[in-house]
C-alpha cells in the first residue's frame, strides 16, 4: 500500500470494454437467435452458467480425499468413476464418461486435450487458461518432463510419465499420490491438500506443512 500523501487525479469513469471480441459477438448472436426461436430461454442459460460457476476443484478434492482414506471407494472410483462420484452426491450429468487415473511412486499421469480443451468440468470447474493454451497443449505431449519442470515438478528418471490426451468422450481425473506424513489427518484436512493442478497432473498434492500461497523467501 502506498501513502496517500499526494493528490489523486479524478478516477477514470468505470466503463465496460467498448468492443466485444468476434467470438463474444458470435455467441451473443447465436444465443439471441436460439431464445427468439424458442429453443431455450434466457433463464435456462443463466441457470446453466450458475451451475457451471458453482463447480470448483473442491468437488474433485473431496473425491480424492475419500479415495485416500477408503480403499474400497478407490477401487470403485478406478472401476466406474461416474458412479463412485455420485455416491458423494456429486452430479456429473453432463459428462459422458469419467475415468480416474492414479498416480503412484512409479507412475505419473498428466492430462491434456491436444484438440481443444476437454476437461472434467462438473468436478473441477472451468479449466485454467493455460490448460487451453496452444503452448501447453502442443508441448506437454512432446516434452512432458520439460513442461512439468516449468510447473515446478521434477520427476525421477525411473518414474514413468504417462500423458493422457483426451480426444473423445472420456474425461480424466488424476488421483494424486497421498503425501507422506498425512496419516493423522481427517478427510476434510486431506481434501485441502488436493489442488486443481494435482488433479490435472502438473503438480503433486500439497504437503501438510505447505501453505496454499508461498511466502516470499528472505534473501540470505
Amino acid at each position: 500500500m502506498h501513502e496517500h500523501d499526494h493528490a489523486h487525479s479524478a478516477h477514470a469513469p468505470v466503463t465496460d470494454r467498448d468492443e466485444l471480441t468476434y467470438y463474444e459477438k458470435r455467441v451473443s448472436a447465436i444465443q439471441s437467435l436460439l431464445i427468439e426461436k424458442g429453443l431455450m430461454t434466457a433463464d435456462e442459460v443463466r441457470r446453466a452458467v450458475e451451475d457451471m460457476d458453482s463447480r470448483t476443484p473442491a468437488l474433485g478434492a473431496k473425491v480424492v480425499a475419500r479415495a485416500w482414506v477408503d480403499p474400497a471407494f478407490k477401487t470403485r472410483l478406478l472401476t466406474d468413476a461416474k458412479a463412485a462420484v455420485a455416491e458423494l452426491g456429486i452430479d456429473t450429468g453432463t459428462l459422458s464418461t469419467l475415468v480416474a487415473i492414479e498416480n503412484t511412486e512409479k507412475l505419473h499421469n498428466v492430462v491434456v486435450c491436444t484438440l481443444c480443451s476437454c476437461y472434467p468440468r462438473p468436478i473441477l470447474g472451468v479449466p485454467p487458461d493455460w490448460y487451453k493454451s496452444v503452448n501447453y497443449r502442443s508441448r506437454v505431449v512432446v516434452d512432458p518432463r520439460g513442461v512439468l519442470q516449468e510447473f515446478g515438478l521434477e520427476l525421477e528418471q525411473d518414474v514413468e510419465v504417462r500423458v493422457y490426451d483426451s480426444t473423445a468422450d472420456m474425461r480424466y481425473l488424476v488421483i494424486p499420490a497421498r503425501p507422506a506424513g498425512t496419516e493423522g489427518l481427517s478427510e476434510e484436512e486431506l481434501a485441502r491438500l488436493v489442488t486443481r493442478d494435482s488433479m490435472i497432473g502438473v503438480a503433486r498434492a500439497r504437503m501438510p506443512h505447505q501453505s496454499a500461497v508461498p511466502s516470499p523467501q528472505s534473501a540470505v
Partner: protein
C-alpha cells in the same frame, strides 16, 4: 455389434484427413500402439459435428504408445508413454 480389438492387441492408427471434423490428431497417425481398454461404443463425432446422428456408433479404445516411438528426439526416459482415445474406424490390425 462387438469390438474388433481387445486389450493387448497391437494396432496402427490410420493416416488420413477426411474433410470436416475428426478427432485423431496427426501426431498419432501412422503410429503403432497397443490397446489398453475398450471404452465402449460412442456416437461418431465426425457426423455429430455437422448435426448428424453419429450412427453407427463406433467403439472407442484407449491406446498406449511408447513416447520413443512417437518422437525421434524423445530419448531421455524410454519408459514414458502416451495414452489416447481413438475410434475403431481409425485403427487397423497389425
Amino acid at each position: 455389434m462387438s469390438a474388433k480389438f481387445k486389450p493387448g492387441d497391437s494396432v496402427r492408427v490410420r493416416i488420413g484427413a477426411p474433410p470436416g471434423h475428426f478427432r485423431t490428431p496427426t501426431y498419432i497417425q501412422g503410429k503403432t500402439g497397443s490397446v489398453v481398454a475398450v471404452h465402449g461404443a460412442f456416437r461418431n463425432p465426425e457426423s455429430l459435428a455437422y448435426g448428424g446422428d453419429g450412427l453407427p456408433k463406433q467403439f472407442l479404445y484407449l491406446i498406449r504408445f511408447d513416447q520413443t516411438q512417437l518422437w525421434n528426439q524423445y530419448t531421455v526416459s524410454p519408459q514414458d508413454t502416451l495414452c489416447i482415445d481413438i475410434y475403431e474406424h481409425w485403427l487397423e490390425p497389425i
